[in-house]
């Protein structure tokens, strides 16, 4: 490398901050079939997973590049028999490690072993506060009972506990029951995450998106519960992620492209977010390049950094530093071109697509059985010509 090239590289690195978050999607395999899964529709096409050694190397490189938070996710990360080993490696490297799990495949012994190995936190996802609805959405008859047992085991082992509920039109009326269940289980944080329409959720959007009236009622109930918890001196925090389809300005997606987050998919593909795989951009693989190079130098990670790529109306917009033009994946899914302004923005010439989705949510009739479940055989429909 010439002196000039090396000084240019240093300058570029100085303007890009390190990735503070590493999301390790260990596998796309999962015993559940949630129809809002964020994994790609064609996940079943990915058969090659990184080995234990390769993951350990990714963790080391991520830490050296500056990551402090680590998420073990999937699919269901518990499917990987080497999870305990990777947890121990993460602790050794100084990560704060989070296990993001459905609870299926977890046992009390594993909960204790992982704590011993240095796991900091376990997030258990639920589909509903009601066993029947939970199991119908998850596509598994035994899911709810197992989740309850594991939430109790997590609490007994002394971990901080985050319970995650993905919210959609079929469970958005349950806010009070969900909060009550979380209080009984002793959760520290409750994430009420309204569906984000990517992956399987985009495919099933009409059957998932709540109406405005449903959303407003839910927001009211969450606020009532927050006020009550504060009053009672409870440390339980409610985090309500509202759907951006009801906003007039887009979310600052991932806090900006390639600014904080780095996802590594099961086959080693490195991505600026876990949905970006659907974009027509070539992303690097950790089997070919080291993470530092991937983060600072790869065309994929530099593609939407800064704002020189923006067309109108973003280019001349005085809010472009605030929201970065919104989400590239959403722009691609709704307009066919990822450069466009996120159509959530009322200034976008494609905002009518958001309005149409809201309209559809007013008169949707699909039941849970009408959704396309996330499983291998449905996934194969998306890559067999």
């Amino acid at each position: 490398m010439t002196a000039l090239a090396s000084s240019l590289t240093e300058q570029k690195q100085a303007s890009v901050s390190p990735p503070l978050w590493l999301l390790a999607e260990l596998t796309y395999r999962c015993p559940l079939q949630c129809p809002y899964c964020s994994n790609p529709l064609n996940f079943a096409q990915t058969t090659s997973e990184l080995t234990t050694e390769e993951w350990a190397s990714v963790l080391r490189q991520g830490r050296e590049t500056g990551a402090a938070q680590l998420g073990f996710s999937g699919g269901e990360p518990l499917v990987r028999q080497d999870l305990g080993e990777l947890i121990a490696e993460a602790r050794h490297l100084g990560y704060y490690s989070n296990l993001i799990t459905s609870g299926l495949g977890l046992t009390k012994a594993k909960v204790d072993d992982f704590a011993q190995a240095g796991l900091d936190h376990i997030q258990v996802s639920f589909q509903s506060s009601d066993p029947d609805l939970n199991n119908a959405v998850a596509g598994s008859r035994k899911a709810f009972a197992q989740k309850l047992a594991m939430a109790r085991a997590v609490k007994d082992a002394g971990y901080p506990m985050v319970l995650n509920f993905v919210i959609h039109r079929h469970n958005i009326h349950q806010m009070n029951d969900i909060v009550a269940l979380c209080e009984r289980l002793g959760a520290d944080y409750v994430e009420l995450a309204t569906c984000q329409y990517y992956g399987w959720a985009f495919r099933n959007r009409e059957g998932l998106m709540p109406s405005r009236a449903q959303l407003e009622k839910a927001e009211y109930e969450v606020n009532q519960n927050r006020a009550r918890l504060l009053d009672e001196g409870s440390a339980m925090k409610l985090i309500f992620v509202t759907p951006d389809y009801y906003e007039e300005r887009p979310k600052p997606c991932m806090n900006g492209w390639g600014s904080l987050f780095l996802t590594v998919a099961p086959d080693g593909t490195a991505l600026p977010c876990h949905s970006a795989r659907l974009l027509p951009i070539e992303f690097p693989n950790v089997r070919d390049k080291d993470l530092k190079h991937i983060w600072y130098e790869s065309p994929g990670f530099n593609h939407y950094r800064g704002n020189s790529w923006m067309p109108e109306p973003c280019r001349s917009c005085d809010e472009k530093e605030k929201d970065f033009g919104g989400c590239r994946c959403q722009a691609f899914l709704l307009t066919g071109n990822a450069d466009n302004a996120d159509p959530v923005c009322s200034k976008s010439p494609h905002h009518d697509r958001i309005l149409a989705a809201r309209q559809a949510a007013e008169c949707a009739t699909a039941s849970i059985e009408d959704l396309t479940y996330r499983n291998d055989s449905n996934s194969r429909m998306f890559f067999r010509g």
């Binding site: 989070n98 002793g186 009672e232 409870s234």
Partner: protein, 99 residues
């Protein structure tokens, strides 16, 4: 789950602070500073916040922590009220617990 009402039980010099389970305080070379890590989140601490939290070991009371800091920063004036004010903030954020 239910802790004392944040409006009462303010920090006093005899309290012994400790980090709440799930909260980890550490030095991050890449950020050139101390951070507090917790489930899926991170707070970057400024220099004085880092210096105060670095003295929390679950053994020493607030008065001892103030004494250690005053010895380490002799050029500073009396630190007790600043330290208590910051620990009170940390308590209200549920970063620390008191005994």
């Amino acid at each position: 789950m239910v802790t004392a009402n944040p409006a009462t039980n303010a920090v006093t010099t005899t309290n012994i602070p400790r980090f709440r389970r799930g909260f980890r305080f550490q030095w991050e070379p890449a950020q050139n500073g101390h951070v507090l890590l917790y489930p899926e989140g991170m707070v970057k601490l400024n220099e004085s916040a880092g210096a105060i939290l670095a003295e929390i070991d679950g053994q020493r009371c607030v008065r001892d922590i103030v004494a250690v800091l005053e010895a380490a920063f002799p050029q500073a004036d009396a630190l007790e009220s600043d330290v208590i004010e910051f620990l009170e903030h940390a308590r209200q954020q549920h970063w620390i617990e008191l005994s």
